[in-house]
C-alpha cells in the first residue's frame, strides 16, 4: 500500500507515545493549515453551537444564505417548551447589500421577526462579509432593543476572525450580557449552573435529575433546553459546573471574576467521570454531608443497575481497538476511560480544539503506541486507523464515512446524536452503540478483511 505522509507544518501536531521517545510538546491552539482538509469549522460555527440550544431566542444570521442554511435544525439539542431555535433565519444578503451595506435589511428583518415570533431575546450572528462591508451591527442591535424592549445581542462571529474557539468566546460574551439581569430571589444556597451541556437527546434532563436527587438546585443550564430568563439569573448559583470545557471555560472564568462563583470541570461520560461529577459538586458543600450521602446513593443505585448490563458488551469487545477524534479534548479523557471499562483500548486520540494542558494529560493517560493528534484531517485519520488497525472510530458526521469506507465501526459522539450518551444510562447506550457497530457481521465483507467473491 502507498505510504501516506503527514504534511510539513503538521508534524508538531502529531505525536506517538513511545517509551524513550522524544518528549516533544504537541503544538495546538493554532489556526488550520491552508489547504489541509481540517475537520474544524469557523468562528461562526463556534458561536452558533453554543447559543443554538437557547430555545426562546431568535437566532438571526446576518450574511449570505449559506451559514444559516447549513445550521438549520442542525443539532439534536432538544427543548421542553418553545422551539424557536429550530428555525433558520437569515438576512440572505445579496450583491446590492454587499455594495450598499446590510444594516437596513438587518433592521427590518429584526423588527419583523420579533413581531412575528415574540422571542425573549435575539442573537445576531455576523458572518464573514459583514466584517468587511462594515455594517454597524451594534448600532442596529441597540436601536432594535430600544424599540422592541427585548435584549438584542450582537455575536461577533465573522468566520475568518480566528478559530472556532473565538466563536465560543463571542457566544459567551453575548451570554454575559444577559447574566446578571434577572432576579436571584428564592435561589437555594445549594445550587449550580451547568455550563456547556447542550441537552443533546435530552442529556441535560438526565443530569439535572441526578443533581436534584442530591438536593441541588440547577439554576440554569447553559445552554441546553435554554431559556433567556434562566440565563438572566445564572449569577445566583453557588457553583458553576463546566461540562464542555472548550466552549464554556471562558464564561466560567468571567462569572468567577464578576460574581465570585467558583467553577469545576466535569464530564458526564462514562461511569467514573459521571460519578465524579456528582461527588465533586457534593464536595463543594461540605457543611451538608447529606448531599454527599445522596450522591453516593444515586451512584450506587445507578451503577448497580448498569454494571451487569455492560458485561455482555465487555465480553464481546475486549481487545478491540478504538480511534477517537472529537471536538474538545476533555471529552477524549472520558471516552478513553469509558472504552477501557468495556474492554477496549485506544490507539488514536485527538481533538479539534484541545489546548496544551489537555494534550499533556492525554499523553499521560494513553497507552504506549497511542497516536495523539491536534486539528487532524481525513488523510491522517485514515492513515492511523489503518496502521493501528482500529475497530472503531468515535467522531462526528464528517468522520463517519471514513470509518465506514475503511470497514470499521463508528459511534457518533457529536451534535447530531439522537440517543443520550451522557449519564449512567448514557454509558449503557454508548456501550450498546459501540457493540452494535463493532460487532456487526457486515464488516466481514469489507475488502480489507475480505470475504472473497
Amino acid at each position: 500500500m502507498e505510504q501516506i505522509s503527514i504534511l510539513e507544518g503538521r508534524h508538531k501536531q502529531v505525536f506517538e507515545k513511545k517509551t524513550g521517545g522524544e518528549q516533544v510538546e504537541i503544538a495546538c491552539d493554532t489556526s488550520s493549515l491552508s489547504g489541509s482538509v481540517s475537520q474544524r469549522a469557523c468562528v461562526f460555527c463556534g458561536s452558533r453551537v453554543v447559543l443554538y440550544p437557547v430555545a426562546d431566542a431568535l437566532h438571526l444570521v446576518h450574511g449570505p444564505i449559506g451559514c444559516a442554511a447549513y445550521t438549520w435544525d442542525i443539532r439534536g439539542a432538544v427543548s421542553s417548551g418553545p422551539e424557536l431555535h429550530r428555525l433558520s433565519f437569515s438576512t440572505d444578503l445579496q450583491e446590492m447589500d454587499v455594495i450598499y451595506g446590510g444594516e437596513k435589511k438587518l433592521y427590518h428583518s429584526l423588527i419583523e421577526l420579533i413581531e412575528q415570533y415574540k422571542p425573549k431575546a435575539a442573537f445576531i450572528y455576523s458572518t464573514c462579509i459583514v466584517g468587511l462591508i462594515g455594517d454597524d451591527i451594534e448600532a442596529v442591535c441597540r436601536k432594535v432593543a430600544k424599540e422592541t424592549g427585548i435584549p438584542v445581542l450582537p455575536v461577533h462571529s465573522e468566520g475568518f476572525k480566528g478559530t472556532k474557539k473565538d466563536g465560543y468566546k463571542a457566544a459567551c460574551h453575548a451570554l454575559m450580557q444577559l447574566i446578571g439581569t434577572g432576579s436571584t430571589e428564592d435561589i437555594s444556597k445549594y445550587s449550580i449552573n451547568i455550563l456547556g451541556e447542550f441537552n443533546l437527546a435530552g442529556e441535560a434532563w438526565i443530569i439535572r435529575k441526578y443533581y436534584e436527587k442530591m438536593g441541588i438546585e440547577v439554576v440554569s443550564t447553559l445552554t441546553g433546553d435554554g431559556r433567556i430568563d434562566a440565563v438572566r439569573r445564572a449569577h445566583g448559583a453557588s457553583l458553576n459546573v463546566v461540562q464542555c470545557s472548550g466552549s464554556m471555560t471562558w464564561l466560567a472564568k468571567e462569572m468567577e471574576q464578576k460574581y465570585g462563583i467558583p467553577y469545576i470541570r466535569v464530564s458526564y461520560f462514562g461511569i467514573e467521570d459521571m460519578s465524579k461529577s456528582l461527588y465533586d459538586v457534593a464536595k463543594h458543600f461540605p457543611e451538608r454531608p447529606d448531599i454527599m450521602e445522596a450522591a453516593k446513593q444515586v451512584v450506587s443505585e445507578e451503577v448497580k443497575e448498569l454494571y451487569p448490563s455492560l458485561q455482555k458488551f465487555k465480553k464481546a469487545l475486549t481487545g478491540k481497538k478504538a480511534a477517537i477524534y472529537v471536538g474538545g479534548a476533555f471529552k477524549t479523557f472520558s471516552l478513553i476511560k469509558a472504552l477501557r471499562s468495556i474492554g477496549m483500548s485506544v490507539v488514536l486520540a485527538g481533538s479539534q480544539t484541545g489546548n496544551k494542558d489537555d494534550y499533556a494529560r492525554l499523553k499521560e493517560m494513553c497507552d504506549e503506541g497511542t497516536v495523539i493528534v491536534d486539528d487532524s484531517n481525513p488523510v491522517e485519520l485514515s492513515k492511523f486507523i489503518l496502521e493501528k488497525e482500529a475497530d472503531l472510530l468515535i467522531g462526528g458526521v464528517k468522520e463517519r464515512p471514513i470509518a465506514f469506507k475503511l470497514g470499521i465501526g463508528f459511534c457518533d459522539h457529536n451534535h447530531e446524536r439522537k440517543i443520550p450518551l451522557a449519564g449512567f444510562v448514557g454509558m449503557y447506550n454508548f456501550a450498546l452503540e459501540v457493540y452494535q457497530s463493532v460487532m456487526s457481521p457486515v464488516w466481514q465483507f469489507a475488502p480489507r478483511k475480505g470475504v472473497k467473491k
Partner: protein, 450 residues
Amino acid sequence: MKHAKTATQNACKLCNPLGACLAFRGIENCVPFLHGSQGCATYIRRYLISHYKEPIDIASSNFHEETAVFGGSHNLKIGLKNVSKQYKPEVIGIATTCLSETIGDDVPMIIREYKQEFKNGSPMPIMIHASTPSYMGSHIDGFHAAVRATVKTLAEKGAREKLINIFPNMVSPADIRYLKEILEDFKVPYMLLPDYSQTMDGGPWGEYHRIPPGGTPASAIAMAGSAIASIEFGSTLEPSKSAAGYLEEAFGVPRYHMALPIGIKESDKFFTLLETLTQQERPEKYDDERRRLIDAYADGHKYVFEQKVIIYGEEDLVVGMTAFLTEIGITPILCASGGKSGLLRKSIKELIPGMDELGIKVREGVDFVDIEDEAKLLKPDFLIGNSKGYTMSRKNNIPLIRLGFPIHDRFGGQRMHHLGYRGTQELFDRIVNTVIEQRQNASSIGYTYM
C-alpha cells in the same frame, strides 16, 4: 399573525459554493478547493455527507484576519501547494466564496503566479476556477458555474468526432449511471460532465484513497470541443451560464437544450434526440422500459388522478417534475423554488401551455415559510421535494414524497432515480404507494388488498 418578509426563513436553497464543490467531485482525480473561511468547506462537507454518505474532502484556503486585509493570495498559494502534495490531484477545482469575492481577490492571476512560482516542482495540477459568490444566486448557480469553468479550462478545438457531450445538471449518482448506460447502449462515444456517480456513491475501500475513484477524466473533457453535439438538461439554464452554451459559442458545437427528462413525454424527447444524433434506433430495452411504464400508468391512474401537490426544489427539477405530474393527472398547484432565475414560469409554460387553466401556480425566490403559508391555503394532498420540507409536512400533516437533494432524513437518496423511463417508473411507484398508504391508514377496515 403577520409574517416577516425581509428575512429568509428556513431557506429553500443553499449557497453557491456548495454546488461548485459537488460539480468538481465529478472530475476524475480532482480536489474541490474553497477560497474562503474554513467553515465554508466544513459546513458544505457535512451537508453533502449527510446526503451522499461518502467521505468528501474539500480543501480550504482558511482565511484569517490578515488574509482578509491583505488579500488571499498568500493563503491560496500555500493551500494549493499543500493540496498538491497531500492529494496529488490531477485537477484542483477552486471555487470562491462571499469572503474572497468581497475583498476582490483576482484568483486567475493568483493561479498564474502560482504556476510561475512552482513551475519546476512536481507535476502541476490543472487548476479550474469558478466564481461562486454566496451572495448571488444559489447552489445550482455554483454547480453550473463550475461545470462551465471546467469546460472552459479544458475543452480544446479539434476535428469533429462522433462524440456527444452530455451535461445532465445536478442529478443523482443513480441518474448519472442510468444516463451512461443509455449512451453505452447506443454505442456512441460520449463525454458526461460532471460524473460523480462513483465518487459520491462508491464502494468500500480496501486501502485509503486520497481521492475516490471515478469522475470524468480531464483528457475526455478536452475532447468536448470536437463533439458533434451537446445535450444539456435544464429548462432555466441559459447558454451564457452553461457549459454547452460555451462550447457552442467557442467551438460551434450545437447545443441541444431540454428539460430534465422526467415523465414519458420528456423522456421520449430525449430518446428521439439521441436517435437523431446517432442515426440509430433506441435499443429494445428502452422500449420495454417505456411499455412497462405506460402499463404502470394504467394500473395506477385512479390513485393519482386529480391529486393536488406542491412541488419545490431547484427550478429545473421543478419544471421536469411538473411535466411528469401533469401527464399522470396530478396537478402541481404550486411550483416553488428558492432559486430566482426569472425563467421558472416561462419554462413550465413551454411544456404545459394550459398551465393556468390547470391551476398551476408558480413562485420563485421563496423560502419554506412562504411555501407553508401557501400549503395552508391550498391544502395539497402531498408535498414533493427534498428533506427540508419535512418540518412543514409534519406540522401540517401533509405527506412528503422525498426526492432530489438533500435527503437528510431517509436512506438511499444518492441511489434514487429521477430521469428517463426508469426514473419515472420509480417516482410513479412511490407516488402511488404514498396515496395507497394514506388510504390504507385512514381506513377503519384495514384492507389487506388495495
